[in-house]
């Protein structure tokens, strides 16, 4: 893509000159940041608001920036409103049909007006050298020219690997955790006196919709101190995919990045920025688009991957993309089609070529596997696929061992690093994982000629996991019989979704029980063969069913509720349940047409707050409550209804449901999300 842009810039010289003539007062809006480094070249990108006369100056010291890149060596792209020549590449503008459907309250995802993006292609550099740089508007320096603005070219292609890589995923939420993760990584690298060489992002860098504004506020601004010195190699996530399209290379994601399409950094030409490969000193990196391209084994991406892997003779092979082939975090790789297809279609190709490490995100958790091979089945099982069930820690069970070079099917480690800044969670336990953490953090990879060390650094700077792969000589790893597997501890699971599927035996879902009232009051009933619901029948006393393991004060809890009977009933959700005389409840009361929160203490009910609502019998009602550090809120059919203060009186307790005496209610599903800080 950028090759053609470069060619085009020659034709655009008159436009550039025109811009230069009228240039005045442009302000730096984004960057400068680095892209597509090679041993001999670097791309420096920046944006201004308003026209400028773009120029990059660089040299071997901050005070001697004696080399200049300008004119046709700088690719220009502009926002749609800018009145340049028609064939100047344009930055993202929301399609009219999407704009027409957008809620006026939502942010306009288009590139800000009067935006100019410059991509300066610096060539003829020496491998492994550090250069300092500054970006200019004519003679006015916009940024750089100091010790903080520098880049290092890749080492010569035949050098032995010696690098530190930062791996980050699902970071772009704009949360304080995002910043803490970044600060912790900086602190870790400073303490270990080894700065980053490279940065891999496994997607979801700009929540919620990957808009240009979100890229700016949730990616470029927070990480600018790293991006000005370190190339970020990206993989598209589903949130970027809301506004960007892999098939056409269109949208804010593709505007922001300059990545190889024609084998510019080694590897086979992909012809697209959606998936690509590159080499850095003995390490071959593969980036795939798991979000919106054909993931079938005969698709163009798979064909490209096979061709690429046939060519590489690197010592290490690392692949990264967004949707994890193995995860039970906030996503289930056994149930979601993108994850399943990446596992079934792409893992066999990668493992046949000797992949060492796969890095993904999407699932908001840290999960790191044992050394494994051939885990393509659905659901994922550990039997027959684990080659080393140790922890991989040199100070623990010992490093994982593989033969030198890339040998087929000697095992790989899979990391889910979706814990970079948004709300974490865990819905289960993947049997192939050796380390699982719902703490926020990121991953540092240190790679040398014969070892790869992975370190999970949490948001407080602590090392939560460390493993190593050592490659030397010749080894013959074989599947471990009866491998170690992580215990499925229900108390560690933070996300539960009960929708009463066919495998709910006996009507009572696992881990649920009748706490008080009719002991046979819970049963599962099919709705016209399409869905099932829980039927809850109370007799002389209220029926309270509780979810046994969960005891927490901070959570999201929602359910669909329906009243089938003719009487004035009440039913709803229970929380902070201690015993039949002490609990809290959020109930819909048909007798008063209200939604209310109350506390039952020693058998006496105390109203906290109440609001009138419109309830239609035999129609599903959605009620949802969020108890968090920032406040407690309740919604009714997705409409925010009231907030309430539970004070200090809400203690730990179970979650559940309640149906008033002599009444019946139906629950379509329950969703529980414990708030993982």
């Amino acid at each position: 893509m950028h090759t053609s842009f470069l060619r085009r810039t020659y034709a655009l010289l008159p436009t550039l000159l025109l811009i230069a003539t009228y240039s005045h007062g442009a302000s730096l809006y984004r960057g400068p940041y680095l892209q597509m480094g090679t041993p001999q070249s670097m791309v420096v990108v920046w944006r201004t608001e308003g026209m400028s006369t773009p120029e990059l100056r660089y040299g071997l010291a901050p005070e001697t920036l004696d080399q200049v890149v300008s004119g046709s060596a700088i690719t220009l792209r502009v926002s749609e409103d800018v009145g340049a020549e028609n064939d100047v590449p344009r930055l993202y503008k929301e399609p009219a049909e999407s704009a027409a459907k957008r809620n006026p309250k939502d942010h306009d995802p288009s590139t800000a007006p009067d935006t100019y993006q410059y991509e300066a292609h610096v060539k003829g550099l020496k491998p492994g050298n550090t250069y300092y740089y500054a970006v200019y508007d004519g003679d006015t320096r916009l940024a750089g020219g100091d010790a903080a603005h520098h880049f290092k070219t890749h080492p010569a292609a035949d050098s032995a690997p010696d690098m530190r890589i930062w791996v980050l995923g699902d970071s772009g939420k704009g949360s304080k955790e995002q910043i803490m993760v970044f600060d912790a990584m900086n602190e870790f690298t400073a303490k270990s006196e080894r700065p980053l060489d490279h940065f891999l992002h496994v997607g979801d860098m700009a929540y919620d919709d990957g808009t240009d504004w979100e890229f700016q506020k949730r990616f470029f601004e927070p990480y600018q101190s790293t991006l000005r010195n370190t190339v970020c190699w990206p993989a598209i996530g589903n949130h970027e995919g809301v506004t960007s399209r892999g098939i056409s290379g269109y949208g804010p994601y593709f505007d922001a990045y300059v990545v190889p399409t024609a084998g510019e950094v080694g590897g086979a030409a992909s012809g697209t920025e959606a998936y690509y490969s590159f080499d850095i000193a003995g390490v071959h990196f593969i980036c795939l688009d798991s979000h919106d391209l054909d993931r079938k084994p005969d698709g163009a991406m798979a064909q490209w991957l096979r061709a690429d892997l046939e060519q590489t003779s690197a010592q290490w092979l690392i692949a990264f993309w967004h949707h994890p082939p193995y995860s039970k975090g906030t996503h289930d790789s056994d149930a979601e089609h993108r994850e399943i297809e990446m596992r079934e279609s792409f893992m066999p190709i990668l493992e046949s070529a000797g992949v060492d490490l796969t890095l993904t995100g999407h699932s908001h958790i840290y999960e790191r596997s044992m050394l494994m091979d051939g885990a393509y089945a659905t659901p994922t099982v550990a039997e027959g696929v684990i080659l080393d069930d140790g922890d991989g820690n040199p100070k623990g069970d010992g490093a994982y061992r593989k033969s030198a070079g890339l040998q087929p099917n000697e095992g790989s480690v899979s990391i889910v690093a979706g814990h970079g800044g948004t709300t974490n969670g865990r819905m289960g336990t993947s049997p192939v994982m050796r380390s699982i953490s719902v703490e926020h953090g990121s991953v540092i990879l240190d790679i040398t000629a014969d070892s790869l060390t992975g370190i999970m650094v949490d948001k407080y700077g602590a090392t939560q996991d460390l493993f190593r792969i050592v490659k030397s000589g010749s080894v013959s790893p074989q599947p471990v019989k009866d491998p170690w597997q992580p215990a499925h501890d229900i108390s560690l699971i933070s996300r539960h979704h009960f929708n009463f599927a066919e495998d709910t035996p006996g009507g009572v879902p696992a881990y649920w029980e009748v706490a008080t009232g009719n002991p046979t009051g819970m049963s599962v009933i099919a709705d016209e063969g399409k869905s099932r619901h829980l039927n809850a029948v109370a007799k002389a006393t209220p029926l309270i069913g509780v979810f046994r393991p969960n005891r927490t004060q901070k959570f999201q809890y929602e359910s669909y509720l329906r009243f089938p009977g003719p009487s004035d009933e009440s039913a709803g959700l229970v929380f902070g349940y201690v015993d039949p005389a002490n609990y809290w409840q959020l109930v819909v009361d048909l007798s008063t047409s209200s939604l209310r929160i109350s506390q039952v203490s020693e058998g006496k009910e105390r109203l906290i707050t109440e609001k009138e609502v419109s309830v239609v019998r035999e129609k599903w009602i959605k009620i949802k409550m969020v108890l968090s550090n920032s406040g407690n809120a309740v919604s009714f059919d997705d409409t925010p209804t009231f907030q309430f203060d539970a004070g200090a009186e809400l203690s730990d307790g179970h979650l559940g449901f309640i149906v008033s005496a002599e009444n019946t209610a139906e629950f379509l599903s329950f969703k529980i999300r414990e708030q993982v800080p």
Binding site: A307, H337, P348
Partner: protein
């Protein structure tokens, strides 16, 4: 319908389906299809039916393999909003998957009539091309692929589609020329390889040799190129060289798939079967395709790859034999 045939068809139409999905906001991309269908159904029950929600649910039905439900939802969406491009494109693809060629063609033509630019018309041309291919109307299919290729950024599969039609029409030189043009529009190695294969089919063997040799020397895993060179040798009636390359390819493939070929990348097995055919062992090739294992006589006859590329195999006691 035959499962294998269905899978093949799905592979061909998947990109089209994806293209259709891209036209809308994938706001429901976060959960598995069952959950999303459930949520969308509820949302429509409570908030009313819209073309957008129906279309979103139709795509989820497609993902879940429920073609009838997908078609039903797409049609309902179009009843509400007759020119909704996402629904039109999705419906056409769903109908094609169901082998309802007449209905799919009607939808594709309707899409063409409601699209106002080459880029928007391209996916409908691609859909028509596949309909014609299904009917073995290769000339018409080729024409439609060419129309689709007028888009600003044609998909790699569209270039390959045109080349496939030209091969079926036995216009091998034109196929080489078409892929040569494709290479200038997109540097993808996939197109480059297709072009080299086309050179072989067009008996442009000298150039094919040059390209194969270049790739052989640049590749670590060489079986793809050894097999292609064996095919060139076959066309040159150089049987000894043909067998030599095929045996070398098979040895490398055995080294890569290890003791249990059936669990490995299925394309390695496909290549293994090609090697066996080039060695004049069609029964063994068929056995490998059918069972993912090698016949004993092949295991004995074919040497294992050099230990430098596969040290483990030296210690593995033979390949699995049925």
């Amino acid at each position: 319908m035959n499962r294998v045939l269905l899978q093949r068809r799905w592979r061909r139409v998947a990109p089209l389906l994806l293209f259709a999905v891209f036209l809308t906001l994938p706001v429901f991309a976060h959960d598995n299809p069952g959950d999303v269908i459930h949520a969308l159904t509820h949302r429509m029950e409570e908030g009313g039916v819209t073309a957008r929600l129906l279309t979103a649910r139709a795509f989820e039905h497609s993902y879940a393999g429920n073609g009838d439900a997908a078609v039903e939802d797409f049609e309902a969406a179009l009843a509400l909003q007759p020119s909704y491009g996402t629904a039109l494109s999705g419906l056409g693809t769903a109908l094609l998957l169901q082998d309802k060629l007449g209905d799919a063609e009607q939808i594709a033509r309707r899409g063409l009539n409601t699209s106002d630019s080459p880029d928007r018309r391209a996916p409908y041309h691609a859909l028509l091309a596949q309909i014609h291919e299904r009917a073995l109307h290769w000339e018409e299919a080729r024409h439609r692929w060419k129309e689709a290729l007028a888009a600003t950024r044609p998909e790699v599969d569209w270039f390959l589609g045109e080349a496939q039609c030209l091969a079926q029409l036995e216009r091998y030189d034109e196929r080489v020329a078409a892929l040569a043009i494709a290479k200038t529009r997109n540097p993808s190695v996939v197109l480059h390889r297709a072009w080299i294969r086309a050179l072989v089919d067009a008996h442009q063997l000298e150039q094919a040799h040059r390209e194969i040799e270049k790739n052989l020397s640049a590749s670590r895993w060489k079986s793809t190129w050894l097999l292609l060179r064996a095919q060139v040798h076959a066309r040159e009636h150089a049987e000894a060289a043909q067998h030599q390359d095929a045996e070398a390819a098979l040895a490398e493939l055995q080294a890569r798939w290890g003791p249990d070929p059936a669990t490995r990348d299925r394309h390695l097995l496909r290549d293994g079967a090609t090697a066996l055919e080039l060695l004049g062992r069609p029964n063994a090739a068929q056995h490998l395709r059918d069972h993912g294992t090698l016949l004993e006589e092949v295991t004995r006859e074919v040497p294992v790859a050099d230990s430098g590329s596969a040290p483990r195999l030296a210690t593995v006691p033979g390949l699995r034999v049925d």
